[in-house]
């Protein structure tokens, strides 16, 4: 057994828990998860069947944690994990799975496949079987503070521009405020308007907030590549900042996996319950709306539809809020088929967008999103994840479609009634 397989086996053994064992015990190879996965539906290649992506983990479970498996392993009938297994499955576990969890909603026996992919990546990363570009992003996140290599001065420059453009002040390192806003590098580099929108809405709603110069990056490459220690380190930076600034709530930005990383995995990664709350920006905005602190001046008449980012909706539980918020500025909102908890992934989540090797398949499987969009033929598409937005724009371009892709927060900010201060 090579060092890599030894390491992978050892990590798998750490990762396998009761749910994993229950899931593997229950699989009847019905293949329904394939029909739920855009990597299968758009390629027609059965190797992309979600449960198949877990074969190496399943092998270790069977050999290490079942009586039958142990006996068959002793008898030499069940062969141990090989380097070839790891090499063959690397593409399946990283390039063709966004951990969107749609298969987990469909599996008739209730297997949470995405949950297990997350665990399997731990073993793959530890044994050196993670995609190179994802490793690079992780290295930048740890060493520079951002997977895209964005440093504080770059953020400060953007803030300066925004303050000049909008005339709004963007607070930094203010202690004792209500909200600490986190950002994603993509927002800083590609969609700085998001920061301006936040400033505008919070001013309108009259709530106090701040950014942190020590922790502004919300994304977490550790989660995507599957290294809990690194993920924990990245989460710890945010926890430290939030505690230092004594905020009540940390706001996760328009990013999918950042929410999962901070909201759901965060406390488990650092090993303690947070003293503050973690909310997605949509949750905060909807609370403000419900409290009557958000008033819009007009409603768009263009046909709008909403793309649910997987980690926010299906894996995050933020489903009603975006719809309520969109209705504040639109009277022509339509739902795509399968919208909500069963929405189809854009194809770029779970580290796939940072993985250059996956570029081709990522664009290929966008066909699924395209079909979904075509079904309602909207004038614009709203979403709440920068990663989704960038990939959808890429995809639309690739498929020669003209469709504006909007940020929900930014669009809401544009339609705020400036005349009232709530």
């Amino acid at each position: 057994m090579s060092k890599a397989t030894e390491r992978a086996t050892q990590v798998f053994k750490e990762q396998i828990d009761a749910p994993t064992a229950a899931f593997f015990s229950s699989c009847v190879s019905c293949g329904m998860c394939a029909d739920a996965c855009l990597f299968y539906t758009e390629t027609g290649d059965p190797k992309y069947t979600p449960i198949n992506k877990l074969a190496p983990l399943r092998k270790v479970w069977f050999q290490e944690y079942t009586l039958t498996g142990k006996l068959l392993k002793l008898a030499g009938i069940s062969k141990p994990l090989t380097d070839q297994d790891l090499t063959d499955w690397e593409e399946l576990v990283y390039d063709s799975c966004t951990m969107c969890g749609r298969c987990s909603m469909v599996c008739p026996v209730g297997n949470d496949i995405a949950y297990m992919i997350r665990k399997m990546r731990e073993g793959f990363a530890a044994s050196g079987h993670a995609p190179e570009s994802l490793v690079g992003a992780t290295r930048r996140a740890v060493e520079i503070g951002s997977p895209m290599g964005v440093k504080l001065p770059a953020l400060q420059a953007q803030i300066r521009h925004l303050e000049e453009d909008t005339g709004l002040s963007i607070p930094m390192d203010v202690k004792g405020v209500e909200y600490l806003c986190m950002l994603s590098s993509m927002e800083i580099m590609n969609f700085p308007e998001y920061i301006g929108a936040i400033a505008k809405i919070f001013k309108h709603a009259g709530v106090s907030w701040t950014l942190s110069s020590e922790a502004f990056e919300a994304t977490n490459s550790g989660i995507q590549i599957g290294v809990s220690e690194i993920a924990a380190e990245l989460v710890q930076r945010i926890v430290d900042a939030a505690e230092k600034l004594k905020v009540n709530t940390v706001i996760s930005p328009e990013c999918g996996h950042a929410y999962t990383a901070l909201r759901w995995e965060g406390p488990n990664l650092v090993g303690k319950r947070f003293d503050f709350e973690v909310k997605h920006i949509l949750e905060v905005l909807d609370e403000l709306r419900a409290a009557g602190k958000i008033k819009t001046k007009d409603k768009m008449s263009e046909r709008l539809t909403y793309h649910d980012p997987c980690q926010i909706a299906r894996r995050g539980g933020v489903l009603e809020q975006p719809r309520k918020l969109i209705r504040e500025f639109s009277d022509n909102f339509v739902e795509m088929p399968d919208a909500g908890a069963m929405n189809w992934c854009c194809g770029a989540g779970g580290g796939v967008s940072s993985n250059e090797r996956a570029d081709e398949i990522r664009i290929k499987v966008f066909q699924r999103k395209k079909d979904q969009i075509d079904a309602v033929n909207p004038d614009a598409l709203v979403s709440a994840c920068s990663n989704c937005r960038i990939h959808i724009e890429d995809g639309l371009e690739e498929y020669h479609m003209e469709l504006p892709v909007l940020s929900l927060t930014e669009t809401l900010a544009e339609h705020l009634d400036d005349s009232v201060e709530t």
Binding site: E14, Y65, A130, E132, T138, V227, I230
Partner: protein, 380 residues
Amino acid sequence: MEPVKSPMDLNPAVKSTGAQGETVGEALRRQGISRRGFLKFCATTASLMALPPTMIPRIAEALENARRPSVIWLSFQECTGCTESLTRSHAPTIEGLIFDAISLDYHHTLQAAAGDAAEAAREEAMKENYGNYVLVVDGSIPLGNPGYSTIAGVSNEDMLKEAAAGAAAIIAVGSCSAFGGLPNADPNPTGAVSVQEIITDKPVVNVPGCPPIPVVITGVLAHFLTFGGLPELDQLGRPVAFYGQSIHDRCYRRPFYDKGLFAETFDDEGARKGWCLYKLGCKGPTTYNACAVTKWNDGTSFPIEAGHPCLGCSEPKFWDAGGFYEALSTPTTDIARTAVYAVAAGAAAGVAAGALNKANKKRALSEHQTTTLDDLSPGT
């Protein structure tokens, strides 16, 4: 006081010397039976052989010319129930007539002769008719110790072998001789076996039942008389004409089984309405016999009609085939207790296996190595 009638008087068939040259037709006519009577006899014979009425003329022709065979009846470990079944009737029945048509040369329960005279009669008949007589056996044969059952100092096994050697046909009457029966039931203290376990070089017609239906016994005799040979037999050596269909398949209560209407106890509404007795342990589905059609006591009824489940008495091992009142589909053992033990053993084994897994996982966790950035790209 009226003198006790000898069995010979009760049963004219038992004669130490028979008119062996006589045909069946002659024998019947000698008894003053007209040809109309003979035709009636043939019709009922066809009926008891389970042959279609179209066979009546053939039967009439064959019987008219058939020679009366010599029959030697040996009784081993038995209860005389089989003989009772056959001779129970007070008036001449059609079975009785068939019986009359044979020459019963030895039957130690029925014959008047006893002791040396009886044995001499047997030996004489065997000698005279060597190769032609019919051997009827009731009762099982003890192999555990020959002394368990002897006749005139001869062990059952020896007597059977000797009698079988010169027999034209062997008929094992009753479940004891056919399958071992009650003596063979667990723990089988005498080492009882069936006829066909000893006589392996000749076909044995098994007429099982505890007791067998009288018309089935005579039906086989009638077949031998009529056709001179043995009827078609099933895998267990039973005549297909009588044992070809299960009690269940010919049971008049079968429609209730199909409708799922069962008597749950012997005195419930279902029992009163004549519903299916499956749940009360009826062995009808696994029992092949003609009871449901021929019935008992001159066609009056049969156990299921009287409200009692079939015991399966014409099948091998019926004494040991689970309780008489246990439904056929249920396990024969105390499965609930076994299951409880299995749960306990499973829990113990499961906890042990789980503890091993836990230790395995704990070891993996203790060997945990922090994954560093350098681990991620081992090539660089």
